[in-house]
Symmetry: C2
């Protein structure tokens, strides 16, 4: 006889009868590496005639738990009808999944239906429009970081927390949960500085100037960056032209100790790992909501051990942020969350009307950066000025520096060549690559876009210029991209070259050419039509 419970279960808490827990049964199979690269999705292969498959009543695409060698992973099940792929007494695993178990072919493994992730109820509540609490976010982010969410569940979380679906307290909870999902570095210093830009402006490689300047001033600046996701170059892609950026974490820490700075790819440090997984869904959907942006950026900074951050929010008609009220809303959200997680934050709203610098693409941008560091007269002045101002702000984090003095200190460091020396030291420490910025190895195929009338440049479309550089195959082809000959306000004659496109392959050149045919990204008009933006710099 069974006890009769007088309380109803909470229907909302357990609403998906399809997700049935079944972890009683398991069986022993021989593991087999199936040489299929399924890209960040663990896939398990069972033969249709496998006794376990039949007995367990698995369904195609159901999530299974594989246990071997004292480890457990979740995988999506694919059913196979070919003994050459997996036999009836074998359990196949895709390359990634196989690596996670750290075993040899033939090792014994058991497989069972996987429990639904613990946080699925919280996800369902968010989908129903409810507000989540701190524990909900912690559970969700942990399950995401541990690869327990399917692509469907991940996407649902991203879309359900899109736009204004998160209030600022929830953004704080999400940020905190993302920090907790990975490791947090501790540099054992009172002041660890960083700068970050919310993105969207081609050529905007200020980090590669700010880092050597502030490190030359003595501040600790262990900068880790991402590779390009949808842009023609990320800081890591551009730095990789000059030096090795993919370093074991211990090596990186040694460089930071020796040189007060590094400029490396952040992927090796396991900082805020849930963020990288969420991005794999946000990117194809072109979703970049304020809440997710704030949580993503600030969690990475805290995890990296930063104490002080200067954040660059560019504003312009084709920037991510298009109006001052929008920029101010975003600034307030960043400041609120930074305050809750004890990060000292200085938000700077900058001019995002056009690309920064001249080159767009890894080699072209590396050229611009080195020209600024070498005080080369061909150096793009906007890149120099913006970098100095951002570096100046960071230098003012030093309590010994008077407010307002930072810019002059930064300029002195750059003009004196100390920034270049610091950059060279970082490059040598990370592992120098051959690069001559006076003779950069640009893509051998090229075409030019010329003005078809005289006038002033009244608009440069960041999105279209970035698209053209991407089609030319930047950043994959490091010498590909766009080199701008004119910027906003410049007066050009009919026939003047506006920009040059570089590519490595004929087909890429044609794709870029077609895009230029649809829109060059440049607009010519009267000088008085050049749009103004009222930003600090």
């Amino acid at each position: 006889m069974y006890a009769l419970r007088m309380s109803n279960i909470n229907a909302k808490e357990d609403a998906a009868p399809g997700l049935i827990t079944n972890n009683l049964t398991a069986s022993n199979l021989s593991l087999r590496r199936v040489a299929i690269d399924t890209y960040r999705e663990n896939v398990a292969y069972l033969h249709r005639d496998c006794a376990v498959y039949r007995a367990e009543g698995f369904q195609a695409l159901s999530k299974v738990e594989v246990r071997a060698n004292g480890r457990r992973i979740l995988a999506t099940l694919n059913v196979v009808d070919d003994q050459n792929i997996v036999g009836c007494d074998e359990l196949g695993l895709s390359e990634d999944a196989f690596l996670q178990l750290d075993i040899q072919n033939g090792h014994t493994a058991s497989v069972s239906q996987a429990e639904p992730p613990e946080s699925i109820n919280a996800l369902h509540r968010k989908l129903a429009g409810e507000r989540l609490d701190r524990d909900d976010f912690r559970r969700i982010v942990r399950d995401i970081a541990e690869l327990r969410y399917s692509k469907i569940e991940l996407t649902a979380f991203v879309v359900a927390t899109n736009r204004d679906e998160l209030d600022r307290e929830e953004v704080y909870f999400l940020t905190e949960a993302m920090i907790a999902s990975g490791r947090t570095l501790d540099w054992q210093e009172r002041l660890v500085v960083d700068k970050h830009c919310i993105g969207g402006i081609p050529g905007n490689r200020t980090s590669m100037l700010v880092v050597p300047i502030v490190a030359a001033h003595g501040l600790l600046c262990p900068k880790t960056s991402s590779r390009a996701i949808t842009s023609p170059a990320g800081t890591a892609d551009t730095m990789e032209v000059l030096a090795n950026v993919q370093l074991p974490f211990d090596h990186l820490a040694g460089i930071v100790r020796d040189h007060r700075a590094c400029l490396a790819w952040g992927g090796t440090a396991r900082l805020s790992p849930a963020d990288d997984i969420l991005i794999s869904v946000e990117r194809p959907l072109a979703i970049d909501s304020p809440g997710q942006m704030v949580a993503s950026i600030l969690s990475k900074k805290i995890a990296a051990g930063s104490t002080h951050l200067v954040l660059d929010i560019p504003i312009g008609p084709t920037a991510k942020v298009r109006s001052m009220p929008e920029a101010q809303r975003l600034r307030r959200l960043f400041e609120y969350v930074a305050g809750r997680i004890h990060l000292s934050l200085d938000v700077v709203i900058t001019d995002g009307r056009q690309p920064i610098g001249n080159g767009i693409g890894p080699i072209l941008e590396a050229r611009d950066v080195m020209r600024v560091l070498e005080n080369d007269p061909r150096a793009p002045n906007d890149l120099r000025q913006k970098s100095l101002r951002l570096a100046g702000r960071l230098i003012e984090c030093n309590p010994d520096v008077r407010g307002g003095d930072g810019f002059a200190i930064a300029r002195d460091i750059l003009d004196s060549g100390r920034a270049l020396s610091k950059m060279n030291a970082i490059i040598m420490a990370q592992g120098q690559k051959p690069f001559d910025h006076n003779n950069p190895a640009l893509g051998p195929l090229t075409f030019e876009i010329r003005a078809n009338q005289a006038g002033a440049v009244t608009d440069i479309d960041n999105l279209q210029v970035a698209r053209i550089a991407r089609l030319a195959c930047a950043p994959k082809v490091v010498g590909a991209g766009v080199d701008l000959m004119h910027k906003l306000g410049d007066l050009v004659a009919s026939g003047d070259v506006l920009y040059r496109v570089y590519a490595g392959f004929q087909s890429d050149l044609e794709f870029a050419r077609q895009a230029c045919g649809r829109s060059t990204g440049f607009t010519l008009g009267r000088t008085e039509d050049v749009p103004r933006v009222f930003v600090e710099f």
Copy 2:
């Protein structure tokens, strides 16, 4: 020299630089069937050393277009490192994908990067919170029906149109687009009737009674149903106990001509095919928003050629709809859209406080249905009464029937045995299966849940009872499920059997038993605590 366009492109319209069109290049490969069942996702396999893979710069999981035999399909790319799976001059295709091309192993095929679906811009606008127009919905639904959306994109659409994100005009556009995505049947009659329930009530098999009753009255009722998605039995699962339900469409049409009705599975007719694809994402997320429900149900009805529909909205504390204001909002949305698509709709709000009938699971429900048809004294009266009332409403669609007379006509048809004769004729026409409702082949393993106190049944949790039946493996094991001995308001003594659980396998029995241990789904109390609902019937 290139023309310089003076207008900016619309950034919103083309915001994802990652989605690059590249359909210029293609190459000839030898097709190979890879015996992996990837379940409704087309997967293409290329060897990492394949010249095409390298030249095209494909990335893992990018979408590719495969052309062969004059056909083209989209597939997700997996990279392979084993020549036993695909060689360097081969293009592997998963089973489903291979079948769609209708070719032999070794056939020549070309592969290229796929263009992003045309409607992706509209999806991005919906994600940004914009209202979509008729053409947007038409493009999106067409791309979904043609399997051009990835699981990520599908999920994004479902979540972004969840809850109140669609206004009623948009729900109409979505419905219309879903109708247009498939075929529409034309029965060449003025009056084609159907009934539908929004679901959520276990045992609610009224269709299997309503259809023979109204067909015996002479109305045309070509009923197609779904199989269970998250419930312990769908109408198609239950009917399949009695007869073949998976019939070629032409055969089905012949049965409808001969008998004025059928009770078949709807999957063969390609009606509103986008709906089935959306459900594959909605189900794991337990999403069932008003807009999607209305579009799903009404599009299927119009596609099936219905002119008149009686719609059952059950209301109760564990039903899909939990309050009368919610039911009325849903009714108005159904009525608005039905009006726009010229479907005559009669919404009936019914008592959804508990399961209908006694049995839950295919065989148990088939038993109940046959008992009602045979006027067996053991027939559950609630199932009989509800079916008669719904049938009466449909019969009143006949302009020769006076309002209010339908119920009596339906009762007469049932009591006289004419409904049973009609049902038997339908069963014979579709292909009878052996079934003896006096001796149904229930699962051999069983346990009972008894009352642990005396009292009145004050609540039966639809969700928990359904969950227990699912865990016992209904509908997959047709004899599995739950047989209720008592219903709301019944007075029971301590130790009385409340219900019996049937299963086919020991492990299923244990899962069901564990669920009963967490909550039996029954609440006992005082007679005056039985909740009332004020509904028509």
